[in-house]
Amino acid sequence: MNQLLAFRTRASNVLALQRHGALIALIALLVFGIVRYGDRFAGENLANLLADDAKFALVALGMTFVIMSGGIDLSVGSVALLGGVVAAQASGAGLVPAFGLAVLVGLALGSLNGVLIAKVRLEPFIVTLAALLGVRGLALYLSDKKAVVASGTGSFQDFGRWELLGLPVSAVFMFAAFLIGAAVLRYTAFGRTVLAVGGSEDAARLMGLPVARTKFVVYAMSGALAGLAGAFLAAQTGSVSTDTGIGWELSAIAAVVVGGTLLTGGVGSVMSTLVGVVLLQLIFNLIVFENSMGAIEISSFWESVIRGGFLLLVVLLQVKLSRRRASGGTAPA
């Protein structure tokens, strides 16, 4: 029995280890970058990196909640595109209307997913897959298949250049959003319910938790965050190209998993998703820097191979974990 107990304890540390592992890998890569490339890497580059990451991170934040609830949201890339398109189109009206509209549109589409999944009880995979197709169609229709350029003047365009505490405003926003997300997860009943639903929907129902409402909210939230991410993109780059958002959903899933959130739901951490996002982007950044050194030539295509490799590593680690769990005698649903 003691052996079994030891087994279980060790197994459950694997996820924590993974989380710390991702953080350690991130720090190691940062140190490596600073040592090797010096100030060129450290200062503005990192600030830009964070600003760039903000939109992916917001999408991944929504995805984290969806996955923790035991679901999946494939539509985030398309919703981000749509958010970007409407934000750019409304940018003449100013910052707040443009961002507000993007978030509202995302919220509406996320709610649609949520209703179909939580109330009509269709499979999340298929519902959000259909949304991926349909919403992209809507976005392309609205943009007339052309890149949408935000209005050249006014608060919307300026927004991308704002800085706060020396950081680009989008990076500040990203940190704020993740802090709020982490607090929601830890300090609200909603956050705990998300994890309970993902951990065991039956148990959650028997405990009298509002399962359907919780599922609805995570999809609505994911949609709103994706819309917001699109608006950020529009504000930062001044235009939204039609290929925006392609594959974002899968990058987001990868970042969530690398961060140590269990894909079957029930376990997760918001901050480690942020680590996952930054880590995966940093790899790309480092490749660029290494190439600029001129010593060796590393193709940027390694980026996705390395990402896939990370995902494989993480998945195998999680398999090991669940095997241990099975042999440990407990079998959580």
């Binding site: 269709l122 197709l133 809507l138 996705s304 896939g308």
Partner: protein, 335 residues
């Protein structure tokens, strides 16, 4: 216009007391809905679309466009029959196309080049299958790995550069015709017939369905469930590889950045829309082919009649949701 193509909005509230009727209605729609929609689309086009009923249009436009998705969807259907999913097909297409083009350009000759390309695709499938069958990784995640890394691998092979392939013998795979029928269409028919035959008449085919229908029971009946899954993923990838080669041949160039982009979604949609439940236990190659043809024809029809491609895509999304909604109704009626 959508009402000619699909089921009307489900009268769920009105039909609630008449469970039996709703069930048979839904069962009908599940079984023949896509076929009916396809026929309706054909009739509509025959009447209202200029130059529709010409062999050139039907064979070289409609069918040839639909065939690649159809072939990939057939492999996907095998995976789905086991209660799985394969997100990596698009990336596998890119890998196979790159390997084939690279081999050709390095002068291996046609047959070895094709063999190498298919071998690469097969290895991808075995990788997926091993993760799913041996390690019990969720299919979505297992195949997501190659979805992400696979395209990078394909791009790395030529550093992302386009490879022009103008070997006439090879171009036959994409542009040729056999007895006047485009080679893609011939392949679609051959693959569909082969899978139909395998599913119906070989032990493996029956194991495939049994595994997806009730895995614990299948295992207790001596079905080698792991091997069955492995073969399903290997087949799916190999078919994707074949289609990848065909696409490269058709455009006479291998483009790792774009070959097979979005194919996984089109293939899944084709399987789902024609009534194959994603929960496994069923495979109908005929339905898959109908689904692929219907979705393509739907888009082409809408576009031909002035509906923009984008709106057509929205309608497609709507129809997929409607189709699974109907399936669920039918499933509940039966269960």
């Amino acid at each position: 216009m959508p009402e000619t193509t699909t089921t009307p909005a489900a009268p769920s509230a009105a039909a609630a007391p008449a469970v039996r009727r709703k069930t048979s209605w839904a069962a009908y729609t599940q079984r023949y809905g896509a076929g009916t929609a396809l026929v309706a689309l054909l009739i509509f086009n025959a009447l209202f679309t200029a130059n529709f009923l010409t062999p050139a249009n039907l064979l070289y436009v409609q069918l040839r466009q639909a065939a690649p998705v159809g072939i990939v969807a057939l492999g996907m259907a095998m995976v789905i029959a086991t209660r799985g999913i394969d997100l990596s097909v698009g990336s596998v297409m890119a890998i196979s196309g790159q390997v084939g083009a690279l081999a050709l350009l390095s002068g291996t000759g046609l047959v070895p080049a094709v063999a190498l390309a298919l071998l690469a695709a097969l290895l991808c499938g075995l990788f997926n299958g091993t993760l799913v069958a041996r390690y019990g990784v969720q299919p979505i995640i297992a195949t997501l790995i190659l979805f992400i890394a696979g395209r990078g691998i394909a791009q790395l092979l030529t550093d992302g550069r386009l490879q022009n392939v103008d070997d006439p013998a090879f171009q036959f795979f994409g542009l040729g015709a056999i007895a006047g029928i485009p080679v893609q269409v011939v392949l679609l028919v051959v693959v569909a017939a082969a899978i139909w035959f395998v599913a119906r008449s070989t032990p493996f085919g029956r194991y495939l369905v049994a595994t997806g229908d009730n895995e614990p029971a299948a295992r207790l009946a001596g079905v080698p469930v792991r091997r069955v899954k492995l073969i399903a993923y290997a087949t799916s990838a190999t078919l994707a590889g074949l289609v990848g080669l065909m696409e490269v041949a058709r455009v006479s160039a291998s483009d790792a950045n774009n070959t097979g982009l979005g194919m996984e979604l089109d293939a899944i949609a084709a399987v789902a829309v024609a009534g194959t439940p994603l929960t496994g236990g069923r495979i109908s190659p005929v339905a898959v082919v109908i689904g692929a043809l219907m979705l393509r024809l739907l888009q082409n029809t809408l576009i031909a009649h002035g509906v923009s491609r984008e709106v057509a895509q929205m309608i497609t999304g709507f129809i997929i949701v409607a189709a699974i909604y109907v399936q669920r109704q039918a499933g509940e009626g039966a269960g």
